[in-house]
């Protein structure tokens, strides 16, 4: 490997995807999957900052029981916009949009995705959706929560719900097209020798995610159209006063939005499989089991939506069925956790920043998953539903899980994306800050929920204050933990040391391309002769 690094001309003197052309137009009209990945990175980082800013305001507001900062109406808009932006404009496009776009062709030895122009269109759709949300924010905001439950959202609210929902509707098509693109790419464009069972597990999870995106998102689109019809034209679909059924909306909404949870977490699971193997220098423990568990999760995810509706008046027997299915979806998740842990057994473990994020992911995802069992259990869900317990649970999955995985992935592939290294000490420090800040923010919320504090409360009963202050303190630490990487990653783009093609000694085709890769990724189509994660073998045969 070192011989390769020597032969590599320096970043400035080599033509790669970043310097092949210059100017705004060369970026905005690019069809290179790697440049599109960077477009996604820019857009979702911006959206993450807005969503994070709203979260910060909320946490500050909740320092006192009567609310320290804003009017209740404003608070309601803050949590609504925070949810919409973070779910639809950060979490869902995060790993597929950035790492998926960058890595899927590289990992399978292809020049690009199957439909490069469609790929660019996906980004523009997300951009248009995002512009809608920014318009909503600037023009006064929307309330009602990211869940848009009618008849409140369709009839009673007088905020900009329609524009917010339309933004989500448009972003949904971005998600569908991205999923479609990846499915076709993975099916049709694998390099010779790259059989299904030689694929890195990241691709398995992206594939499973894409299936959910393609099959689930249209239901969300239909639901939003129906909501729009009722709000605009008073067609009675959900509001009983017009002859509709409000629970119908919840069924439709969760039929998409529960699988959407797995759109957010499955890609992170794929990232973690890559990180744990690389930094343990080992094959994944139980490759097939981990791969199939992704598919099992994708399929089961469509059958559990009713567990969001245990207290709505859904029949007891429907509740029983959704409960048992929800328990079933926990099992493949547990299997993954055990396999990642076992992968470290007798490995050669290095504590680089991406590995710290991966280890954080495994632990926090375990907690997030296990606290989900409280909500799959009918009797405890009755008490915990709609409280801060739910908030804590899904943030353990979404932030402790999905965002941790995303951060780990960004740190892992950053040298490949930019060709440069970031300061590892700072990165490890930031990972630690994120871990501590995260737990301090969200652990108290489990206790708050159990004590009975409902979510979406702008003012609350004084006995909840101590735990709320703890949570706010944690949130400020967490915010610092997210700002630090932003600084050193941007810094590294200019001043970082050149990374060379494979700074981690990782396996996988993407590490055989130079860093940053040339526009066509590989000079000649690679031929794959070994399984993924063949860390025990000598260096790769080609080179």
């Amino acid at each position: 490997m070192s011989s390769v690094a020597l032969a590599e001309p320096s970043i400035e003197h080599r033509v790669h995807y970043l310097n092949v052309s210059y100017g705004v137009k060369s970026w905005l009209l690019t069809t290179d999957h790697k440049r599109i990945a960077l477009l996604y990175l820019t857009l979702i980082t911006f959206m993450f900052m807005i969503g994070g800013f709203f979260a910060t305001l909320m946490r500050l507001h909740l320092i006192t029981p009567q609310g320290a900062l804003v009017q209740p109406e404003t608070f309601n808009k803050l949590f609504t916009m925070h949810g919409i932006i973070m779910v639809f404009f950060f979490l869902i496009p995060s790993i597929p949009g950035v790492l998926g776009n960058f890595l899927v062709p590289l990992m399978i030895g292809a020049k690009d995705v199957a439909f490069p122009r469609l790929n660019l269109l996906s980004w523009y759709l997300l951009l248009v959706g995002a512009l809608f949300e920014i318009y909503v924010v600037l023009s006064g905001g929307a309330d009602g929560g990211w869940t848009f439950y009618p008849p409140y959202s369709s009839i009673y609210a007088n905020t900009h719900i329609l524009a917010a929902a339309l933004g989500v509707f448009i972003a949904g098509f971005s998600s569908i097209l991205t999923g479609l693109n990846f499915i076709v790419t993975i099916h049709k464009m694998r390099a010779p020798g790259m059989t299904w069972f030689r694929m890195p597990l990241f691709l398995w999870s992206i594939y499973a995610t894409s299936l959910i995106q393609v099959l689930g998102t249209p239901v969300l689109a239909i639901t939003i159209v129906l909501l729009g019809l009722e709000r605009l034209l008073h067609v009675g679909i959900f509001d009983p006063a017009l002859g509709g059924d409000p629970l119908l909306f919840q069924h439709l909404f969760w039929f998409y939005s529960h699988p959407a949870v797995y759109i957010m977490i499955l890609p992170s699971m794929g990232v973690v499989s890559e990180l744990v193997t690389c930094f343990s220098r080992k094959r994944i423990f139980g490759y097939e089991v981990v791969g199939f568990s992704s598919m099992a999760i994708a399929i089961l995810s469509f059958l559990v939506w009713g567990h969001h509706m245990f207290v709505t008046g859904q029949s007891i027997y429907a509740g029983l069925i959704f409960s048992v299915l929800s328990f079933m979806v926990a099992i493949p998740s547990a299997i993954k956790v055990f396999n990642w842990t076992a992968t470290m057994y007798r490995g050669s473990i290095s504590y680089k920043a991406p590995m710290l994020y991966a280890m954080g992911f495994i632990g926090l995802f375990t907690m997030g998953g296990l606290t989900g069992l409280f909500l799959a259990s009918l009797a405890t869900d009755v008490h915990l539903n709609g409280t801060y317990f739910i908030v804590a649970h899904f943030h353990y999955i979404m932030v402790g899980g999905a965002v941790m995985g995303y951060m780990g992935g960004i740190h892992f592939w950053w040298p490949k994306i930019t060709g440069r290294l970031y300061p590892d000490a700072w990165a490890r420090f930031a990972a630690l800050v994120v871990f501590l800040g995260f737990n301090l923010t969200f652990f108290p919320q489990f206790m708050l929920g159990y004590l009975g504090m409902p979510r979406r409360y702008a003012v609350y009963s004084p006995e909840f204050q101590v735990l709320n202050v703890m949570s706010t303190a944690g949130a400020s630490i967490l915010a610092v933990g997210y700002v630090i990487p932003l600084v050193y990653l941007i810094w590294s783009m200019r001043y970082g040391k050149p990374a060379g093609p494979n700074p981690w000694g990782a396996k996988g085709l993407e590490w055989e391309a130079s860093s940053p890769p040339p526009t066509e990724n590989f000079e000649e189509t690679p031929v794959v002769t070994e399984e993924a994660y063949a860390y025990a073998r000598e260096a790769l045969i080609r080179l």
């Binding site: 109406e73 409140y152 328990f327 055990f338 470290m344 280890m359 405890t380 009755v382 204050q465 860390y535």
Partner: protein, 324 residues
């Protein structure tokens, strides 16, 4: 934990302890596996830390017996949780038959609570300790959610649809009532108190609050005012004496139970379910009655159903005698 942080909410209903036991079991499982995974990761990370850059660890593909074990253990645990939680939920969902009724109307942003004996309360509910209370709830606008943490009960309150929930308080005191479904600007102020009293205090409170009519009396008054009696007392429409809770044969051939839902629908959308042998001549009363008045009418019909064995022709409905 320092002072000021309560660790668990009051256990103030008959079901609270059962729910908490399950909660503690789940907490135990969560702690066990979280500690197990975290400590294993840290142990491996230290024990197998990279000592030299040339290290090539042995290749391990996996282990079928291990996969089976760590599939079966979670599956087994999940099975236990499912059976435990579901049977508890099943039991908790069934109100005792002899429950006292209270009616709840949720609206932006207040709770209106109505005792059959007459007293009407806003954002406050007085109940006796040790008596099962059944709440019949409906929303006048958006979806609300009736949540009493100390009782471990929660239920969505839907527009145009009755939902019900029950509890039996086990200790006296004041307990939070929260709306747990986002319902608009003042959602977080749609809160109140459940005041659980000793039966004698409750009787005293109740007699103090009884200036007006009972719900059934209010219903009887409406029954006359709205002219229900002109058809339902003359044979033009089906008789309503002893109707509540009984099966009704419909023109469509179906049979339905005459419960709150059926009565409410029959007042608002009379054509939805036509009683066998009658024609759809009844107009809708949508614009003439509100949710509260419908509840009063239901209470009145219930009061007619109670003495079903006694001869028809109670003083409240003299005209009924002619029908049948």
């Amino acid at each position: 934990m320092g002072p000021g942080i309560p660790l668990h909410p009051d256990q103030a209903s008959t079901i609270a302890r059962g729910v908490d036991n399950l909660h503690f079991f789940l907490t135990g499982v969560t702690l066990f596996f979280t500690v197990l995974i975290f400590s294993t990761i840290i142990y491996f990370a230290i024990k197998y830390r990279r000592r030299s850059e040339d290290e090539r660890p042995p290749e391990i593909h996996g282990s079928v017996p291990l996969e089976v074990v760590w599939t079966l253990i979670p599956a087994l645990l999940c099975g236990v949780m499912f059976v435990w939680a579901s049977s508890l939920y099943f039991r908790n969902s069934r109100p005792p038959t002899a429950s006292t009724e209270v009616f709840v109307i949720g609206k932006q942003w207040m709770w209106q609570l109505q005792h059959p004996e007459g007293p009407r309360e806003i954002n406050e509910l007085h109940v006796p300790v040790g008596v099962p209370i059944k709440l019949t709830m409906i929303s006048q606008d958006v979806i609300h959610d009736f949540y009493i943490p100390a009782f471990r009960i929660k239920r969505d309150v839907l527009p145009s649809r009755y939902s019900s929930i029950w509890f039996q308080a086990t200790k006296t005191g004041k307990f939070h009532l929260f709306c747990a479904q986002y319902c608009g600007a003042d959602h977080s102020e749609m809160v109140g108190w459940i005041e659980v009293m000793t039966p004698s205090d409750y009787q005293q409170w109740l007699s103090g609050g009884m200036q007006g009519e009972t719900m059934a009396q209010g219903g009887a008054r409406l029954y006359g005012q709205l002219g229900c009696i002109t058809c339902h007392g003359t044979g033009k429409g089906p008789s309503l004496v002893g109707l509540y809770g009984k099966p009704v044969k419909l023109a469509s051939g179906e049979t339905v139970i005459a419960d709150e839902v059926y009565i409410r629908e029959s007042v608002l959308v009379p054509s939805a379910k036509i009683v066998a042998g009658y024609t759809a001549i009844m107009p809708t009363f949508k614009t003439q009655v509100n949710e509260e008045q419908i509840l009063q009418l239901i209470a009145y019909l219930k009061s007619l159903a109670a003495p079903e064995v006694s001869a028809p022709g109670k003083s409240e409905m003299p005209a009924e005698r002619k029908t049948k």
